[in-house]
């Protein structure tokens, strides 16, 4: 066998390390093909996702499984007023399942969350339980909002480009995996919309990315502000 000395050294050090532990590599997020890849299909069938979607989920079990998430996304699912912790309360269960599976598979890059989202932490069935639980939580309307200066522009852009999928009131569409955007934190909407336009959010819907291509930063700020202020539809 013709192994280079460095490779042998690496192999030995790996063995030595594994003698003590399973190693930290378990929480390095994998990388899967996304929108940057030719032929990428949005929301293509995923075994893990189908298992979660087919599962008869229970909000009661979800409440208990949600504990792991609570430390960041908060007990009421309202997240935090920053780009990092979206409000999950009231989100469609299908959307939560899809996004979780995209993070698990590496179609949506989130190395900070990945260590809490792996299959060794939550099973596909538990994700389904959590998703149903979160969907039943009331949307917290004291979410982070923009400066309110360009809401007219935000509304016109939203009605023209976004409402057909995300709904006139930002309610999204559970059946089509389109997220509810109403009441989401402004900073989060801002970052995700930027990332979607610039192909940093690799699981974004190509149709949406096409629309966003013509958006300047001011447009994104205005439409994010508008979405953050859409009143959640009362259940």
């Amino acid at each position: 066998m013709n192994m280079k000395p460095t490779l042998i050294a690496a192999a030995i050090s790996l063995l030595a390390f594994n003698a003590h532990s399973a190693g930290p590599e378990f929480h390095h997020q994998p990388h899967a093909a996304g929108i940057e890849t030719y032929g990428y299909t949005w929301n293509s069938p995923d075994q893990d996702m189908n298992r979660a979607l087919a599962y008869k989920a229970s909000a009661q079990r979800g409440k208990s499984a949600y504990k792991i998430c609570k430390g960041c996304h908060k007990a009421d699912g309202s997240g935090q007023a920053s780009a990092d912790y979206p409000q999950l309360a009231g989100q469609h269960a299908t959307v939560i399942i899809k996004e979780m599976m995209d993070i698990r598979a590496g179609r949506r890059d989130n190395p900070r969350m990945y260590p809490f989202a792996g299959e060794w932490i939550v099973s596909a069935e538990e994700i389904a339980d959590i998703a149903v639980y979160l969907n039943h939580l009331p949307v917290n309307d004291s979410n982070d909002k923009g400066n309110g200066k360009n809401l007219a522009l935000g509304k016109s852009l939203y009605d023209k480009d976004c409402a057909s999928c995300h709904g006139g009131n930002g309610e999204g569409d559970a059946r089509k995996f389109y997220p509810r955007v109403a009441g989401q934190h402004y900073e989060y909407l801002l970052r995700e919309t930027h990332e979607s336009r610039d192909q940093g959010r690799r699981n974004a819907n190509p149709e949406m990315v096409k629309v966003l291509k013509s958006y300047g930063d001011a447009d994104i700020e205005a439409v994010s502000d508008y979405m953050s202020r859409l009143l959640p539809a009362k259940k």
Partner: protein, 203 residues
Amino acid sequence: MTYPTAKFLAAVALLGGGLSLVSAALAESPAATAAANVCAGCHGADGNSVATTFPKLAGQQNKYLLRELMDYKSGKRVSEIMAPLVADLSESDLAELAAYYAKQKPAPGVAGASALMKAGKNLYLKGNSKTDVPSCDGCHEENGNGDGKFPRVAGQHVDYVLDQFRLYAAGKRTNGARVMQAVAERMSEQEARAVAEYMASMP
């Protein structure tokens, strides 16, 4: 036959605990004898250990205790001290032990005069969003009592907790769901100390 390490024996001798492996081997209820003669040496008869590097077990979550004991036995949780002590105990012995300590009354936490207490409380309840450290109360509950597989942390010794943070951060404690590994990696030494001081103070 495995023997307890010298370190362990020294610790027991220091505490003046009565260690009798002979009676453990002869007893009809291995768990009861182990609790009285073996565990008590380090963890205290009622699970309220005095030595700060040995965790308090009194009032600890039953499910968590059993998992840890089983993991010591299988080697998933590595401890030179614990491994030989649980080697000859069966799962039902360990379950009996876990249930015994879970039922004991925990001694109340001691409020230290630490200047880090406020920072510790803040981290415990809010986390650190700049470094993506989740708050502790999500899993360990606001009162630190834990829940099921999530251990009680209230009143735990600062030294023990700090040891665990270091083991997690170094990738040397990998049993359980490994959530704490990711958390500990993101915490500074100062944050770990602050939150440990706060947990130790919880009643």
